[in-house]
Symmetry: C2
Subunit: 371 residues, 2 copies
Amino acid sequence: MVGDNQGMAELTRRDLIAGAGAVAGTVALTGVTSLEAFAQAEKPVGWAILGLGGYANNQILPNMKYCKKSKPVAVISGSPDKARRIAGEYGISEKAIYSYDNMDSIKNNPEIEVVYVITPPGTHHEFTIRALKAGKHVCCEKPMASNSKECEEMVAEAKKAGKRLQIGYRCHFENYNKEAMRLCATGALGRIRTIRSDHGFTLGGPNWHTSRKLGGFGAISEIGVYAIQALCYLAGADPLEVWGSREKTDSPLFKEVEDVNHFNLLFPTGIQGIGATAYTWNANNYRVMGNRGSLNAEPATGYGGHQFRLNGKAIEVEPNNMWADQMDHLSECVRDPQKTLIAPGEMGLRDIKIIEAVLRSAEEKRVVKFA
Amino acid sequence: MVGDNQGMAELTRRDLIAGAGAVAGTVALTGVTSLEAFAQAEKPVGWAILGLGGYANNQILPNMKYCKKSKPVAVISGSPDKARRIAGEYGISEKAIYSYDNMDSIKNNPEIEVVYVITPPGTHHEFTIRALKAGKHVCCEKPMASNSKECEEMVAEAKKAGKRLQIGYRCHFENYNKEAMRLCATGALGRIRTIRSDHGFTLGGPNWHTSRKLGGFGAISEIGVYAIQALCYLAGADPLEVWGSREKTDSPLFKEVEDVNHFNLLFPTGIQGIGATAYTWNANNYRVMGNRGSLNAEPATGYGGHQFRLNGKAIEVEPNNMWADQMDHLSECVRDPQKTLIAPGEMGLRDIKIIEAVLRSAEEKRVVKFA
């Protein structure tokens, strides 16, 4: 019973009974390989939540109860008290509470199959590499890391470890955004020439967002990445060329990180994607313009309240739990080696490369090749 | 009684009686210079409408009846039948109907003080120059002309002739847009960093829009100029730098003219203006994003139905007749040499130069200096 790299993790008797319930409990546990595999396939994947800040507490952990294939089995935190309290809330045993110092010992806990990294971006590289080296699959929040070199190392490490690496791009799992992708891909808008997206919020701070070391590039990676994502998933492609600008700012908040960036991505089909992002205004929208119609989304990528209009008429979509669906998708990929990740590390790497291209273009005041 | 260059046109006894009514009619007509000037100042300015297409027929002429300081006194047209019919409708005498061939003889008709050029853009230069040479002030529809050289010649000719040259930028006279300018200028949105505007329509064609000779640059001058205008009047400045792109098109409609262009204008204050235009999608909007609020306009610059929102809340503005106000503004400037034109030829020239900079930037794939 050796776990395989793509999801067939080590199977123990306890796992089988606990995880597979009645089916597993009624069969003999020796030599019934196909039933064992079946039971293992049905068993929810155990997730360790690394970083217990607002997003973990308010979105990820509460929404895990809607998961069908994922369950929280451990926490990894720099705050022992908070870790104990939250572990208690979610029925996680004391033994499954780890600190950043001792987290490498998760390799000895077979319950943990996935580590969800939900810390400031500057720490994603370290925690992802450590989790992969401990033999775990990883879901890493966006933005993937502080620069493309880190992203490349993370992708390489996942490949080396034979583990899955997903980026927390929840909009790929949200029904309104999925419908928008479908409408774009199926030609409902006709020939699309222009897509644009503004994503920004007014930052209080100073806090980790304003630190290059912790917060990454700034607004463009923290919130602008939603615009980059939308432009790419609505265009259904990676850009060929990138133009970008950065506007001077006189606020001491933005000495280390980007405040306002504007960028245009030229896609192979001739679609131009126009993005804007800032820490000094609020926006959450996108618009797709085709010769047979236009799609307007605002709010487009928030936690809820999506308003999507096709030629002015509200698009009706059954709301879903994007967080649960995102986590279950990785869990499915952990269980099924044939299944392809929708938002893999390579996508996170692409987006960080786009950000770097935007900043290079802004510096050189010219269009830069991307692909 | 010699007319001066800035509006005190030649005064005749007939003008004085006809135009100034009771006041002039009750005074002796010799030696009462101040009363004559007063009467002349009160007399509506006579406009000749050059080009009797849809815009002249459906917007300009019907709205002239709301003018307080302007009245139609002549038509200049290539279609004698249409000219006669329309002249009849607006009480214009047979003698005041001109063709493009004999229009230079308007110099002998002192009733005509302004010529409003409302023909396809490729003809604006010729008609404007001829009208100025005939001693008339000119209102010229947007886009000003086919290229910046033509615009420069038009501005120079107006200067030489000592006549006013206004560009038909009606949004400067429309109350919603004026309120948006006021909100931007007075800091109601806080520090503004990003303004963007999409303006496009799906063109049927082929028609004069698809001819470089008649239609100008294409979508960017025909409809994109509303975006350029909005970015500039909301930023309250001319751009320092321009970036632009043009997207390949496979439609035979756009062999001569531009279809899709995207452009960014960097303003001195650090505001980035983002524009998009096309003949292959529909849009009419702008958005201003500041650190204390955002303004959203859609439709922004149409003939009516303006919907302007400040932080999501509808802006209530008393609707006005922008066409009448635009014409009366030029008439006021004709009468009052001290008055400054809001949308002079120099502004039309600037916008054509911006379009040329967009296309040069697209060609060279680099940011180009503007100012």
